[in-house]
Every structure is written in C-alpha cells, then in structure tokens.
C-alpha cells in the first residue's frame, strides 16, 4: 500500500486527516511508526479499526510535539518590550495558543504577563489535536530540562530584570511543576485545526501559531490562516515560529513587523 493510499484510508476510518501534511516529514514519521510497531500500512489500519488506544497512539506519533520553555528567547524579549508593555489593563486581552503541545509556550507567555501584573485582565485559550499533551499542559508537570532554565534566564537577563526561576516553578529532583497561580489561568481545549473551528466564541488579540504550520503543505496552511484570521480582531497580532512566514497569498492581510504580523482590516 502506498503512503497516499494509507492516508486516505486512515482518514476514512478515523476522521483524522493528514492528507495535506508536508509529505517528506510525514513520510518519515510513518516509516518510523512502521518500524516501531513492526506493522505495514495494512497492519496498522486493521489494528486501528479495533483498538482505540492504538489509534490515539498513532495520531500522537504522527504529530511532532517537541517544545521548550521560552523557545527562541529573542522572540519573547521582543514581545515584552515592543507590545506587552503597552497593552491596556482596563479591558480583557485574549490570547490563543494554537498547537500548544504540553503547554510550555503558554506558561512562558503567562510568566511575562504576570511580570506586568496582567493576569487579572487576560483570557488565555490553548488548543491542540492531542488530548494527551493537553493533560500534561493542564497539570503543568514536566521532566526538568536545563534548557528551560537557561532560556528563562536569558529572557530576563535581556529584559534587565532580576527574576528567579523558583518564582514560577517548584522543582523536586527531575520533576518540574508550574505554580498553581499560573496553571489556574489558561483553558486547554482539544481542536483539530484541519477539520474544526476554534472551540470558543470570541475573537482574540494575540495568536501564537508557532511550529505547527511547518507540518502542513501550502494549501492547508492557507486554509488554516483564513480560519485564524477570522478569529482575530483588526490590529491583533500573529506570532509565527522563527523559520516561518505567512503562506503565499496571505501577506496582504497582515502588516509584518519583524517576525510579528499585525492583522489588517479587509478592504472589500
């Protein structure tokens, strides 16, 4: 069975549609899955049909969940200095993290907002395809990784602020736990970007869409960008990953400011 035929059949059986993911990286995930399960495409499909847990595991293994606290520290420094300092406090500001994975991006953002005493005037939504990463995100419990602390220190050094890591995290040997006053803020919800609308009814002021669209082909990127665009207020900001830019044909809808994108009103 060919790769494309497998994707079609997987979609028919499970409703999970990976047909418009980037071929090369998807292909390599599937080769890896075949190796690890010792099953060929037919074998995977027949087991998926009868084993719900196995199906979930395949979906998790196809998607890439790697993330960090304050991934690309410069981006966070820029956000804080250029935008966050001037957010008004008397109205609610809505944030949306798309493809939030285990939540480290969400907590990075909340830490900055807390430094500006803004936790009372924000609304934070975070969505992902995988329910298992969302469970980890809600709990805010991680395996300690030195890179997290290094990124944290780098951000605050560049902001010229003296903030200790243990203000936000409790560490016990290898376990790192986000403090409850942060985990209480965000709402984590499941959403498949390919097939579902945002799982909340309001528009947003800041959208994080980092290292998610790199797994999609151009056609799917355009479709998702349109959906996201409609969930943003005019003048709202879009934050993409360090090596990402707006998909072709979408650049007229945003004003690019360094690697931030500000939504233009549509001139119809």
């Amino acid at each position: 069975m060919e790769f494309k035929a497998f994707l079609d059949e997987f979609k028919n059986q499970t409703g999970f549609d990976f047909c418009d993911y980037s071929d090369e990286s998807l292909n390599r995930r599937l080769i890896k899955i075949q190796k690890e399960t010792s099953l060929d495409y037919e074998g995977i499909l027949s087991r998926v049909a009868v084993d719900e847990k196995f199906k979930q595991k395949i979906v998790e293994d196809i998607t890439v969940n790697t993330t960090e606290l304050f991934r690309d520290p410069d981006v966070w420094v820029g956000l804080y200095k250029k935008l966050y300092c001037s957010i008004p406090r008397n109205v609610t500001t809505a944030f949306w993290h798309i493809g939030c994975s285990i939540g480290l991006e969400v907590y990075s953002n909340l830490i900055l907002l807390n430094e500006l005493n803004m936790l009372d005037s924000v609304r934070v939504m975070a969505t992902d395809l995988n329910s298992s990463v969302l469970e980890t995100a809600k709990a805010g419990v991680y395996v300690y990784n030195k890179q997290f602390e290094d990124n944290f220190n780098k951000v605050f050094m560049e902001l010229g602020k003296n903030v200790r890591f243990d203000k936000y995290f409790d560490r016990d040997k290898d376990t790192l736990k986000v403090k409850p006053f942060l985990t209480a803020v965000p709402k984590f919800k499941q959403q498949n970007l390919v097939s579902e609308d945002a799982p909340f009814p309001f528009k947003t002021d800041f959208v994080f869409l980092r290292n998610v669209m790199i797994y999609f082909n151009n056609k799917l990127q355009v479709k998702i960008m349109k959906m996201v665009y409609d969930k943003m207020y005019d003048g709202a900001y879009l934050i993409l990953g360090k090596q990402e830019r707006l998909p072709l044909n979408m650049s007229g809808r945003f004003e690019a400011i360094a690697n931030l994108y500000r939504k233009n009103a549509l001139n119809l």
């Binding site: 980037s22 071929d23 090369e24 390599r28 290292n211 797994y215 082909n217 990953g241 090596q243």
Partner: protein
C-alpha cells in the same frame, strides 16, 4: 551544461572551516542550488550563515518553511530544525526528535533530496564525528545520484566518511580540492 539539478552536502560541526574553504572556492556563476546540512555546536546557534556569507560568492540562505529552492544559492539547514526538500522543490522544516543526537539531521536532508532529485543529484559527505549521513548518502546512491565521500585520510574526524564507506560505494572518494574542482566543472 550539467544534467544535475542540485548538490547536497553534509558534515558535522568540525567541517565548518572546510566548508568555508569550499564555499570560497566555488565559482560565482555556479548554477545549481547547494543544499547544506551541518551539525552545529549547541551553544553556537547563530552567526554561522553570516560567517559563511563573508567567504561565499553565492548567497547563503537559512530557508523559511516552504521556501522554494532556487539555482545559484546555498541553503543552510537552520539551527534546531530538520530540513527536508519536498518533491515540488520547496523546503519543509520539522522539530521532530534528534537523529544521532543531532537536529538538523544529515540523513533526513539527504534522503529527502534523494527522493526529490533522484539521479539528478550530487551528494557529498565531509568530515564528521558520527554516523549521521551514511544512510542518506546510500539513499542517494540507490536512486542513481552521484555520490562523493571526502577522503578519510584528509578528514579532521573520519567517522562520518568511514561510516558512509561502510554502507555504500560512492562514485568518488576525493580530497577537498578535488571536491571543489568537481563542483566547478559541473
């Protein structure tokens, strides 16, 4: 005029100075895209493209996701991303797990180039300290691409060229000067 559509080169962190030398030696009207995947040291995440640009007559690009590969430019896999070339000649990036403790992985870039360019590809493995790249170069050879391994005797660390030679037989084993001359004659 050559029948090749692209050149892909892999090397580990130690290949940096060699890479600079090669870039300096490549003529300014070089027509093919050069796709470059180099391991990077953890603490040196930026500045590599800038140093290369000083030596290279061709533009050095750390491509954005879905950027199109164009002739006469060098595409360097960005720090901390795997770089794949799609069948339509665009770049896809990924942050999936490391391969041989490395991201970017040379195998991943080489294998995707093998699928995208098939026999119209030149694949080159340089000096390096681990086995990443061997499988990728074999994939290129399997698709009838032209393969070159740096002569291990001239390599600062010969693990990478030797690993390649252990799994496949390249078209040529060349010293750095030979590789530069080969490229300039394409």
């Amino acid at each position: 005029m050559s029948d090749y559509k692209a050149v892909v080169i892999g090397g580990s962190a130690g290949s940096f100075s060699l890479m600079l030398k090669m870039l300096a030696g490549i003529k300014s009207d070089f027509k093919l895209p050069i796709i470059l995947c180099m391991h990077r040291l953890k603490h040196v995440r930026s500045g590599i493209a800038e140093s290369m640009q000083i030596k290279s007559k061709l533009p050095i690009i750390e491509p954005m996701d879905k950027q199109r590969i164009e002739p006469g430019a060098v595409y360097l896999a960005p720090a901390n991303y795997h770089m794949f070339i799609e069948l339509d000649g665009t770049v896809s990036l990924s942050t999936e797990e490391m391969n041989f403790f490395c991201r970017p992985s040379i195998d991943y870039t080489l294998s995707s180039c093998a699928a995208a360019y098939r026999e119209k590809l030149v694949g080159i493995i340089l000096t390096g300290a681990n086995a990443d790249g061997a499988k990728g170069l074999k994939d290129i050879a399997d698709k009838k691409g032209y393969t070159i391994v740096q002569d291990p005797a001239t390599a600062e660390v010969d693990t990478m060229p030797k690993s390649a030679l252990a799994v496949m037989t390249p078209n040529e084993v060349l010293k750095p000067e030979g590789i530069i001359a080969f490229l300039n004659n394409l």
